[in-house]
């Protein structure tokens, strides 16, 4: 089924490929920013690759830090370099998947938390005017968690195959390529 998993990036073009050009409710925000979506699926896939407690700890760190980042973004505080961190997150997560090293859990969780904070900041800062904050925040969290689980399950399914480890590393290279593509197109 791996070719089916390869279709997932198509959803990146659910909007006109602008990074944060969405003005609707929170549910759609992580989906219409290709950089967000790529990173969130990659977090799930990386967690699958790390295995053990990382399966839940890494995505949880991302979601918790994203909530905090969202609150900071909504408060109007400025956070320098948030956008470059978001763009770098997809490339670095792809690189982590591609090199397939056993990172210590605290390091992996801290890195994803940093990325999560930056993504959350962007979601919070781009809260559409007259939006219900609670619904918007719930939407962002539900969609983000959905994408993490999707990446996690896809990663575990890929790893269940005898050649799965190499295939997952290859998909990490794909994430890097897409990340660079976004960097250039948004650049």
């Amino acid at each position: 089924m791996k070719p089916g998993l390869a279709l997932l990036p198509l959803l990146l073009w659910a909007d006109s490929a602008s990074a944060h050009g969405f003005g609707g409710a929170g549910f759609l925000h992580p989906l219409t920013g290709p950089d967000h979506m790529l990173a969130m699926i990659a977090v799930g896939a990386w967690s699958a690759q790390l295995g053990g407690p990382a399966l839940w700890a890494v995505p949880t760190a991302f979601v918790l830090a994203m909530s905090l980042g969202g609150a900071v973004g909504m408060s109007g505080l400025a956070v320098p370099l948030a956008e470059p961190v978001i763009l770098a997150s997809a490339i670095l997560l792809g690189a982590a998947i591609a090199i397939d090293r056993r990172f210590a859990l605290p390091l992996a969780a801290a890195a994803t938390a940093l990325f999560g904070f930056a993504h959350g900041f962007a979601h919070g800062a781009e809260l559409p005017a007259q939006s219900d904050i609670a619904i918007y925040a719930a939407g962002v969290l539900v969609t983000t968690a959905g994408l993490h689980v999707l990446g996690l399950a896809a990663g575990l399914l890929i790893l269940a195959d005898p050649s799965g480890r190499s295939r997952l590393r290859l998909s990490g290279l794909g994430v890097i390529a897409l990340g660079f593509g976004l960097l250039v197109s948004l650049g």
């Binding site: 089916g4 198509l10 939407g139 399914l157 593509g181 197109s185």
Partner: protein, 388 residues
């Protein structure tokens, strides 16, 4: 009269009718291209005849519909229709309206439906199926070349590049079909070992996550009513899949033709919805605006990429294809009657007046026919496997 003569007469009749329709609705170049493709395909089919090994053709054939829709999605999202109007208006009839709906119905929905129906005929080993294999191969190559050649002046560069990538893949797919037509060989898909419980669970988790994400997108764009219908069908499909084909995939030799017929009828139904402002009707019912472009991209293009990819996946006995097969069966049986029951009645309640046309009504029930046949076959096979 032989089947071959009947097939030739049918092809010629449809070809000339299609030529006239394309001449009137799209323009002279499109009509000439259609006639040229059909003539070449007919010549190819008469030259090679009906190959004795249609199974070897199915895998490359089934890559064409998802690639074509993926290319169409990238084109549409990148403003292809505006690009055509700005730079290629002379290629179209002066009365051709450059709207997303018009482009989608005439240049995406109808050709894609033809390709899907051709796949049905091919999978059933019909003579017209081998003609359609030639036609689809040439159509794939022509579509890819048009995209790559026509993207030169297109300004939305990243999406133009993406669409051209799909165009290139279409050219390869078309050439692969031609190669198989010239050197036929049988190809059997290996029967996989029954899926373990852990793997089935992982697939179920993946499908559930995809449902949440897709449902969230649909909810944001269209409100709760379409979500109840679509995600409800997905949940029903997942239960059906878990209880039957999740352990042992269906036999693709009977399932793929039925799925392709279902997809043909369903995609024509999406065409009717597009022409008759389905999103406007839903907006009237839910009170939530649903933009034309959002509807076309999600319901007409992106969603169907996954639905038509399911045919390829089902052919390879994969879990994804088997799940989507179930989802489409449930969706057609439970979801489509809403066009005749729920929507008109809701419109009566909102607008007053009597029972009137609701968008998509005329073509809604037809996909139910292959869906019901497939449901009965799956249940019967499952019962037989349990007793064995």
């Amino acid at each position: 009269m032989s089947a071959r003569t009947t097939t030739i007469l049918t092809i010629l009749t449809i070809a000339f009718t299609g030529f006239a329709a394309a001449l009137i609705l799209v323009g002279t170049p499109a009509a000439i291209l259609l006639l040229a493709l059909t003539t070449l395909a007919l010549a190819g089919w008469l030259w090679t005849g009906d190959t004795k090994a249609p199974t070897g053709l199915m895998a490359p054939y089934l890559t064409v519909p998802p690639l074509f829709l993926a290319m169409g999605s990238a084109q549409f999202a990148g403003g292809w229709v505006t690009h055509l109007q700005a730079d290629y208006a002379a290629w179209f009839d002066p009365d051709f309206a450059f709207t997303g709906a018009n482009w989608f119905v005439l240049l995406v929905c109808i050709p894609a439906s033809l390709v899907l129906f051709g796949g049905y005929l091919l999978a059933r080993n019909q003579p017209a199926g081998f003609f359609m294999a030639w036609w689809t191969a040439l159509f794939a190559v022509a579509s890819g070349v048009i995209q790559i050649a026509g993207a030169g002046l297109w300004q939305a560069q990243p999406l133009a590049l993406l669409a051209s990538g799909f165009g290139l893949a279409l050219i390869f797919a078309g050439l692969a079909i031609v190669q198989r037509l010239l050197r036929p060989r049988a190809a059997s898909v290996p029967v996989p070992a029954p899926f373990s419980t852990q793997r089935r669970l992982l697939w179920a988790v993946l499908f559930a996550a995809a449902m949440v994400v897709y449902g969230a997108t649909l909810f944001t764009q269209a409100g709760p009513l379409p979500v109840i219908i679509v995600v409800g069908s997905m949940v029903g499909g997942m239960l059906g899949w878990l209880l039957t084909t999740s352990r042992r995939p269906v036999d693709p030799t009977w399932a793929v033709p039925l799925l392709l017929l279902l997809l043909t009828l369903f995609y024509l139904h999406v065409g009717e919805e597009t022409l008759t402002d389905f999103n406007g009707m839903i907006a009237t019912i839910t009170g939530k605006p649903w933009a034309d472009d959002d509807f076309l991209l999600l319901i007409g293009l992106l969603g169907p990429i996954v639905w038509v990819f399911a045919a390829w996946s089902l052919w390879h006995r994969q879990a994804l294809g088997n799940f989507i097969f179930w989802f489409l069966i449930v969706g057609m049986i439970l979801g489509e009657p809403t066009h005749l029951l729920i929507f008109p009645i809701r419109l009566m309640a909102i607008n007053g007046g009597g029972y009137e046309y609701a968008s998509g009504m005329y073509s809604a029930l037809f996909p139910m026919i292959p869906a019901i046949v497939a449901l009965l076959r799956i249940l019967s096979d499952h019962r037989a496997a349990r007793l064995a």
